[in-house]
C-alpha cells in the first residue's frame, strides 16, 4: 500500500510541474490562439538562467530564481514582439511554423552554451534527508517545488480574477473586437500573455532543474508532454491545465509503476499521454474543461 501512496506523491510532484508548464501554454493559446511549440525551450532557458545565476554569479538561489523569471518574462515578450507580432492575421499554419522555427533557433542558442551538451545539477540548498510519513517519502526539493507551484497557480488565478490587466486579458480572449472598442490594446495583451507564459515557464524550469538535474533533452521534452496535458484539460482553460497536469502526472507514475516490467512492457509512462491524447481527440476533443464551441467540420 505504501508503494501506491509513494506513486501518488511522485505523481502529484510531476503533475504539478506539468500543470505549471501547461499553464503558460494555455495562457498563450487563450489570448492569441497561437500553439507555442517552443515552450519546452523556454522552460529549459529558464532553468539554465537560474543555474547560471546561482552557480556562476553566486547569487542566492531564491533571488536567482526570481531573477530568471524576470529575464524570461522579457525574453518571451521580445519573442512575441519580434516574431509573432507581424504574423497577426496570417494563416494558422504560418504561426505554428514560426514557433517551430523559434524552437530551432532557441535550440541553436542553447547549444552555444555548455548547457546544450553537458549535464549539471544544482548545489543542494535544502536538507537532503527526505521527509517520510509512514513509508511514503518526499524530498525537500520536491516539497518546496510543489509549494511554489501551487502558490504560483494561486497567484495566477488571483491575477485573472481580480486585477485589471488580468481581466483585460480575459476580455481579449473572449472577444478581440469588443475589447478593442473599450480601449484595450490587443497587441499589448498578446505580448503580456507571452511574457506571463515565459515567467511561468521559467518557474517550471527552475523547479524541474532542482528536482531532476539539468539535462537539455529532459527539459525540452516537457514542452511536448504539455500537449496531452492541455488537450486533456481543454485548450483554453487554466483550471483545466492544472487539473489535467496532475491527472497526467498520476497516470504516468502509475503506468511506469505498475505496467513496466510486466508483460514485457517498458517505458509506458512516456507513451501513455499520447495515446490518451489521441483517444480524447476522437471522443471528447474539448477536453475536461474546454469551451464547447470547437470548430467542427
Amino acid at each position: 500500500m505504501s508503494y501506491f501512496f509513494q506513486l501518488v506523491v511522485s505523481g502529484i510532484v510531476v503533475g504539478s510541474i506539468y500543470a505549471l508548464s501547461g499553464l503558460g501554454f494555455v495562457l498563450i493559446y487563450k489570448s492569441s490562439r497561437v500553439l507555442n511549440i517552443a515552450h519546452g525551450q523556454i522552460i529549459a532557458a529558464g532553468a539554465f538562467i537560474t543555474y547560471a545565476l546561482t552557480v556562476w554569479v553566486h547569487i542566492p538561489i531564491y533571488i536567482s530564481f526570481l531573477m530568471s523569471m524576470v529575464i524570461t518574462f522579457f525574453l518571451a515578450m521580445s519573442v512575441e514582439r519580434i516574431f509573432l507580432r507581424r504574423l497577426i492575421g496570417e494563416p494558422i499554419i504560418s504561426v505554428i511554423m514560426v514557433t517551430i522555427g523559434l524552437m530551432s533557433i532557441l535550440d541553436g542558442l542553447i547549444y552555444l552554451t555548455p548547457f546544450g551538451t553537458e549535464n549539471f545539477s544544482f548545489p543542494p540548498f535544502l536538507p537532503t534527508t527526505p521527509i517520510s510519513f509512514g513509508g511514503v517519502s518526499i524530498s525537500w526539493t520536491q516539497m518546496v517545488g510543489v509549494a511554489i507551484t501551487f502558490s504560483m497557480i494561486a497567484g495566477f488565478s488571483w491575477f485573472f480574477k481580480k486585477s485589471t490587466v488580468g481581466i483585460s486579458m480575459r476580455a481579449v480572449s473572449d472577444d478581440q473586437l469588443a475589447s478593442m472598442s473599450i480601449g484595450i490594446s490587443v497587441p499589448r495583451v498578446f505580448g503580456l500573455a507571452w511574457a506571463m507564459a515565459g515567467l511561468s515557464a521559467a518557474a517550471a524550469g527552475g523547479i524541474i532543474g532542482n528536482i531532476t538535474g539539468l539535462n537539455f533533452d529532459t527539459l525540452h521534452a516537457f514542452g511536448i508532454v504539455v500537449f496531452p496535458v492541455v488537450i486533456l484539460g481543454g485548450l483554453d482553460s487554466i483550471l483545466g491545465a492544472v487539473v489535467a497536469g496532475i491527472i497526467m502526472g498520476l497516470i504516468q507514475q502509475f503506468a511506469s509503476g505498475y505496467l513496466d516490467g510486466n508483460w514485457g512492457l517498458n517505458g509506458t509512462g512516456e507513451v501513455l499521454p499520447y495515446i490518451i491524447l489521441l483517444v480524447i481527440l476522437l471522443f471528447k476533443p474539448h477536453g475536461l474543461f474546454g469551451i464547447h464551441e470547437i470548430e467542427r467540420v
Binding site: I96, G108, I275, L281
Partner: protein, 364 residues
C-alpha cells in the same frame, strides 16, 4: 491560343478540359521531356562520386515525402507534425519483411517494386487511421493528433524487440536484370529508380489535382462549409488526403530503406517531421513545384552548414559547441525568415520570374 505560354498574357481557355490539361502547349510538353531526359542523362557524363550521389538520392526521397506532405498541408490545409512517422511506417514495412524472412530473401531482393508499393499501402492505411479525428476536428487538433502519432510510433519502435529496439535492421541488396546491383553502382542505380518513381508520382499528383478529388481538397481547405454545401464530404476528403499523404510517405520510406540498405529509428524522429514541414514551407505550400524546390534548398543548405561547421571545428578547437549549434540555428532562421518575408516560398519566385518575362519590357 498562343503556342507560347511565356509570352501570352491573359486567359485563353475556352473549356474546362483545356484548363485541366497537364501540358498546355506542345512547347511545354517538349520542354518537360527534354528536362526529364537531361535528368536521366547527366550521370552518364558527370561522375560526382558516391558521397554526393547519396545526397542527391536523399533529396529525391525527400521530394517524394514532401509531395505527400504538400498534399495534406498545402492543398488540404491540415498541419501534419508526424510526417516522418509515416515515412517510417513505409521503411519499417520493408524492414519487418527483411527481419522475418532474412534480409536477402527473394521477396526483398527481386520483388522490390512490390515491396515499395506495399510500403506505400501501409503508409496509406496508417495515414487514414491517424486522419480519423479529421472527421470531427480542424487544423490545430489535427496537428496534435499527428504529433501524438509521431511519439507513439517512436516509442513502439524503440521498445519492441521485433523492430530491434530502434537499432538498424539490414535490408539486402537488390537484383536487377543483369544480376545483383554492385556496391559501387548502388547509389547510381537508386538514383534512376527513385527518379522513375518521382516522375510517375509527380504526374499522378498533377493529374489528381485536376480531377474532382484534387479540387475537393482545395475547396475544403478554402472553405469547408461552402464545400459541404456543394455536396462534398469535408471529413472524408480530409481522411482521404491523409491517406494519400501516407501513401507517398510510405513509398519514400520504402525507398529510403533500400537506399540505406537498412532501417533505424534515427531517420524518423520528430526532428525529421519538422524538417519535412520546413521543406514544404520553404518550397511553397500548395504548389506542386514547391515540393521540388523545398527539399533541394534545405538539403543544400544542410550540406553548406555541415561544411561550415567542419571548417569552424577545424580552426577553432574550443568551438565544438558552435559547430553543433550552427545547424539548428540556421535551420530555424531559414524557416522564420521565409515565413516573415516570403510565406509563399521559392515557388513564388518562379511565378514572379515568369510574370516578369511575360510582361517585359513593362512592369507593375
Amino acid at each position: 491560343m498562343s503556342s507560347n505560354r511565356w509570352l501570352a498574357t491573359g486567359n485563353y481557355f475556352t473549356s474546362y478540359q483545356e484548363e485541366q490539361r497537364i501540358f498546355f502547349t506542345s512547347l511545354d510538353r517538349s520542354a518537360m521531356c527534354i528536362f526529364i531526359l537531361c535528368l536521366f542523362a547527366w550521370p552518364l557524363f558527370i561522375d560526382v562520386g558516391n558521397k554526393y550521389m547519396l545526397v542527391i538520392d536523399n533529396i529525391l526521397v525527400a521530394i517524394i515525402a514532401v509531395m505527400g506532405l504538400n498534399l495534406v498541408t498545402g492543398f488540404a490545409g491540415l498541419i501534419s507534425i508526424g510526417h516522418a512517422a509515416f515515412v517510417g511506417i513505409g521503411a519499417y514495412t520493408v524492414a519487418s519483411f527483411a527481419r522475418n524472412l532474412g534480409d536477402s530473401h527473394v521477396l526483398i531482393t527481386h520483388a522490390w517494386p512490390l515491396m515499395i508499393v506495399l510500403a506505400g499501402c501501409m503508409g496509406a492505411v496508417f495515414g487514414a487511421i491517424v486522419g480519423l479525428p479529421a472527421l470531427r476536428l480542424k487544423h490545430l487538433y489535427l496537428a496534435m493528433a499527428t504529433l501524438s502519432f509521431q511519439m507513439i510510433f517512436e516509442w513502439t519502435i524503440n521498445f519492441m524487440n521485433f523492430f530491434n529496439q530502434g537499432q538498424t535492421i539490414s535490408v539486402g541488396r537488390v537484383f536487377w536484370l543483369t544480376g545483383k546491383v554492385a556496391r559501387k553502382e548502388h547509389y547510381i542505380f537508386w538514383y534512376y529508380a527513385i527518379l522513375v518513381v518521382i516522375v510517375i508520382l509527380a504526374f499522378a499528383v498533377r493529374n489528381l489535382l485536376c480531377t474532382r478529388y484534387g479540387r475537393c481538397l482545395v475547396a475544403v481547405r478554402d472553405n469547408d462549409r461552402a464545400a459541404d454545401a456543394m455536396g462534398m464530404h469535408p471529413g472524408f476528403t480530409k481522411v482521404y488526403a491523409f491517406g494519400l499523404a501516407g501513401f507517398l510517405a510510405g513509398i519514400a520510406g520504402g525507398l529510403h530503406a533500400y537506399l540505406y540498405r537498412g532501417v533505424g529509428i534515427d531517420s524518423f524522429t520528430l526532428h525529421h517531421s519538422i524538417n519535412y514541414l520546413a521543406m514544404a514551407i520553404v518550397g511553397g505550400l500548395g504548389t506542386l513545384n514547391g515540393s521540388f524546390w523545398g527539399p533541394l534548398a534545405i538539403k543544400v543548405l544542410d550540406l553548406q552548414v555541415e561544411r561550415l561547421s567542419e571548417w569552424v571545428g577545424a580552426h577553432l578547437t574550443v568551438a565544438t559547441n558552435l559547430a553543433t549549434a550552427l545547424r539548428p540555428l540556421s535551420f530555424g532562421l531559414v524557416i522564420v525568415l521565409f515565413l516573415m518575408f516570403e510565406p509563399r516560398g521559392i515557388a513564388n519566385w518562379w511565378r514572379i520570374a515568369r510574370s516578369y518575362v511575360k510582361l517585359w519590357p513593362f512592369r507593375y
